[in-house]
């Protein structure tokens, strides 16, 4: 990280401007409500006061499909009395007739109309309902929903994405320029080549299971990229590989990957589509078939890399029973214990994603691992600061510490 000279000025500029934009453009909230006027009264039954101070505001950071309403409930809407049974919202669309758009329970004081259209103007009113009568509030001023192009409420998410993503890209760039980066060894991955070699020696096949999810799960993609590395070795050694899958798209991708490995190894004639077979999309139907394959074909090595659910242990135990070397990896925390218990090597969570980068020995991919570590360092620093602040705020009631915790929680909030 000494070679600071190699940060491209373009990146720095981009980062700084975005930061500035986000902070400067942070919006201000809060408007004074107008005084409401009671426009309509009814004397048929019980008299109640109408809701007042109705205001309509454009909902911030939307595509122009929402308007927020706020009002002060009728002063007769008290707990236990029950004369006000609810509220009714009326809307005039482009000067048309007022239509009911919602009925709300008593005590309600706000509503979000999520059915507005850009370019239309609306006028709202709200009525307090009693048993048989309505008491209308003031009308709002006419309002048109607005479209915002950037969602500033997500500015912290954007900054964090920029920080973590930027670190990954930065280190990929550093590595591309030829700087050597250190990455420690990962235990399970050392075993991959041995496991392939073992199958070759024994003259038995390798079974590759990419999980049971489709291509829309990153874990499947991680499994497949590892397959890309393994299949090169397999093509070199000319070992038999079999890959049953539970999704048609994964079958397509798997074939593409293995085929190209055989081409790179210079023996495309050895490749066959039969290496990758679709079984069924059904979780346990797939498991039943794979279990059958295991006990009948007796593979020497089994790879379980991808997204696994309850079937993890069924597969791993059967693999163990037939005496195969098993290398597993998943990012589903609930299934990791079973892989740890039944497999020879397990890639835990993040290691699954790091594995393909590690196996490729491509400096750019290795650089991205370095970027991930920046994310971890950030996480650790923030956690330490947050915990210390929370502790001090709690123990000695230091208000600055409590507000620091609040700030951190705002930044690291998901909404």
């Amino acid at each position: 990280m000494r070679s600071r000279s190699s940060i491209s000025p373009g990146w720095t500029l981009l980062l700084v401007t975005t930061l500035l934009v986000c902070i400067v453009a942070a919006p201000t909230f809060g408007q004074m409500p107008d005084d409401g006027v009671i426009t309509f009264e009814d004397t048929v039954q019980v008299m109640v006061a109408a809701p007042t101070s109705l205001i309509a505001t454009d909902h911030k950071y939307d595509d122009g499909e929402k308007i927020d309403l706020q009002w002060v409930p009728s002063i007769d809407d008290l707990p236990g009395i029950g004369t006000v049974v609810g509220y009714r919202i009326y809307r005039q669309d482009d000067g048309g007739v007022a239509e009911v758009i919602a009925n709300l329970p008593a005590k309600a004081n706000h509503y979000r109309d999520e059915n507005t259209e850009l370019g239309h103007t609306y006028i709202y009113s709200v009525a307090a309902l009693t048993d048989g009568a309505e008491f209308m509030s003031n009308l709002t001023e006419s309002i048109s929903p607005e479209r915002e192009w950037i969602d500033f409420s997500k500015r912290y998410l954007f900054l964090i994405a920029l920080l973590v993503g930027g670190a990954v890209i930065y280190f990929i760039e550093i590595a591309r320029r030829g700087k050597k980066l250190f990455v420690r060894k990962i235990a399970g991955l050392e075993a991959v080549d041995d496991a392939v070699g073992r199958a070759t020696e024994m003259g038995r096949p390798i079974l590759f299971i990419p999980g049971i999810q489709d291509m829309d799960d990153v874990q499947t993609l991680a499994g497949l990229t590892i397959l890309g590395r393994i299949s090169k070795t397999i093509a070199d050694y000319d070992t038999e590989i079999f890959m049953p899958v539970s999704r048609s798209l994964v079958m397509t991708a798997g074939r593409e990957i293995i085929k190209s490995s055989y081409q790179t190894a210079g023996r495309p004639e050895k490749y066959s589509d039969n290496m990758v077979t679709y079984i069924t999309d059904e979780q346990f139907g797939y498991v039943a078939a794979v279990d059958g394959i295991m006990v009948r074909e007796k593979p020497a090595t089994v790879f379980l890399l991808g997204a696994f659910f309850a079937e993890s242990l069924i597969l791993a135990e059967t693999g163990n029973y037939i005496g195969a070397i098993q290398i597993a990896g998943t990012a589903r925390p609930a299934q990791l214990p079973f892989f740890i218990a039944a497999c020879d090597f397990t890639l835990i969570g993040e290691e699954l994603f790091a594995a393909s980068a590690y196996l490729s020995e491509d400096p750019k991919a290795l650089g991205s691992l370095k970027g991930q570590d920046v994310g971890k360092a950030v996480a650790m620093v923030i956690i330490v600061v947050g915990v210390l602040a929370a502790t001090m705020g709690q123990a000695w009631d230091i208000s600055s510490m409590n507000s620091l915790v609040d700030i951190l929680k705002t930044i690291f909030s998901t909404s």
Binding site: P79, G80, P105
Partner: protein, 305 residues
């Protein structure tokens, strides 16, 4: 006849385990099919010949029990059935046990549900499980079902100040005004105890956050086992106690039988379902022990050679 079955299967299982343990002293591995056989026996035998094990209530369960036990007679308790048929096998037993306990102590019960599917379950369990044991209990005097209202947490937000506003009538359209139970009950704050049974959202957690905390009403919860660990942070500050899964129900039932012996004759699904669970857990733990014995004896033998 039943007892003979229980004894034979217990002898078979425990005797088998001891034999395996002795064999393991010679570092002999156990075939996995033998393990499978034991698991099968451990689960099947208690289903065929129901066997119950003595449960002793843990503090979290006992707190709920003691709360209901120590309320003065005639107190009003609200039970919310916040679950659906899929969750029912796990939480139905506790709903039954708690309702019976309240009746036994002479408390009045208000039944309700935050789940649309809960209302059907509610009337089913009332007629099938709860009322048959208490023929003397009278609708609207000793208990009332106000059913389900849509609105999730919104419902809770309203009933914490006014129950009638959300539930003008009970399930049979009787106005709440005319129901004796509600004479002194206006809002959730007037209740003596609330028990929410469920596992999803809305459910026990919402009861704690929207009613228990702001209204300062004691709330107890019964949840599915997977959810239980998430509820512990609220205990004992914000909730009276937790019943977690089948085990929680079993503990409650055993406490019920211990204090009120007449419950021994009623069905105890929680205790019954714990039979296969307990035996299977014991078998698995026994095999962990056997595995370690095999391992250490084997290692010692290697050293000697």
């Amino acid at each position: 006849m039943d007892n003979i079955g229980v004894i034979i299967s217990l002898i078979l299982i425990l005797g088998g385990l001891v034999t395996l343990l002795i064999r393991s002293l010679q570092a002999r591995e156990v075939d996995r099919r033998i393990i499978f056989l034991f698991i099968f026996l451990a689960v099947a035998a208690p289903i065929l010949f129901p066997m119950t094990f003595k449960e002793k209530a843990t503090q979290v369960v006992k707190s709920v029990f003691d709360k209901i036990e120590n309320l003065p007679e005639g107190s009003t308790v609200l039970l919310s059935f916040d679950f659906d048929p899929a969750m029912a096998p796990e939480v139905q037993p506790m709903a039954n046990a708690i309702s019976r306990h309240c009746f036994e102590k002479g408390h009045k019960i208000i039944f309700m549900s935050l789940w649309a599917t809960g209302q059907a379950l509610l009337s089913h369990s009332l007629s099938e499980f709860i009322l048959p044991g208490f023929p003397e209990k009278e609708n609207l005097v000793d208990y009332v079902s106000i059913g389900y209202k849509a609105g999730n947490e919104g419902v809770l937000n309203v009933i914490i100040t006014d129950i009638q506003k959300m539930f003008p009538t009970d399930v049979n359209s009787v106005p709440l005004d005319s129901i004796p139970i509600f004479d002194n009950i206006e809002s959730c704050k007037d209740l003596d105890f609330i028990m929410s049974i469920g596992g999803g959202k809305p459910g026990p957690k919402e009861w704690v956050l929207f009613v228990g905390d702001p209204g300062d009403v004691p709330v107890g919860v019964g949840v599915a086992a997977v959810v239980a660990p998430q509820m512990y942070p609220y205990y004992p500050g914000q909730i009276v106690g937790i019943l977690g899964g089948v085990k929680g129900a079993a503990e409650y039932e055993s406490e019920l039988i211990r204090v009120h012996p007449r419950f021994a004759e009623m069905d105890t699904p929680g205790l019954r379902m714990m039979g296969p669970q307990t035996l299977a857990h014991v078998v698995i733990m026994a095999f962990i022990v056997i595995g370690n014995v095999v391992f250490f004896r084997g290692r010692r033998r290697e050293k000697k050679e």
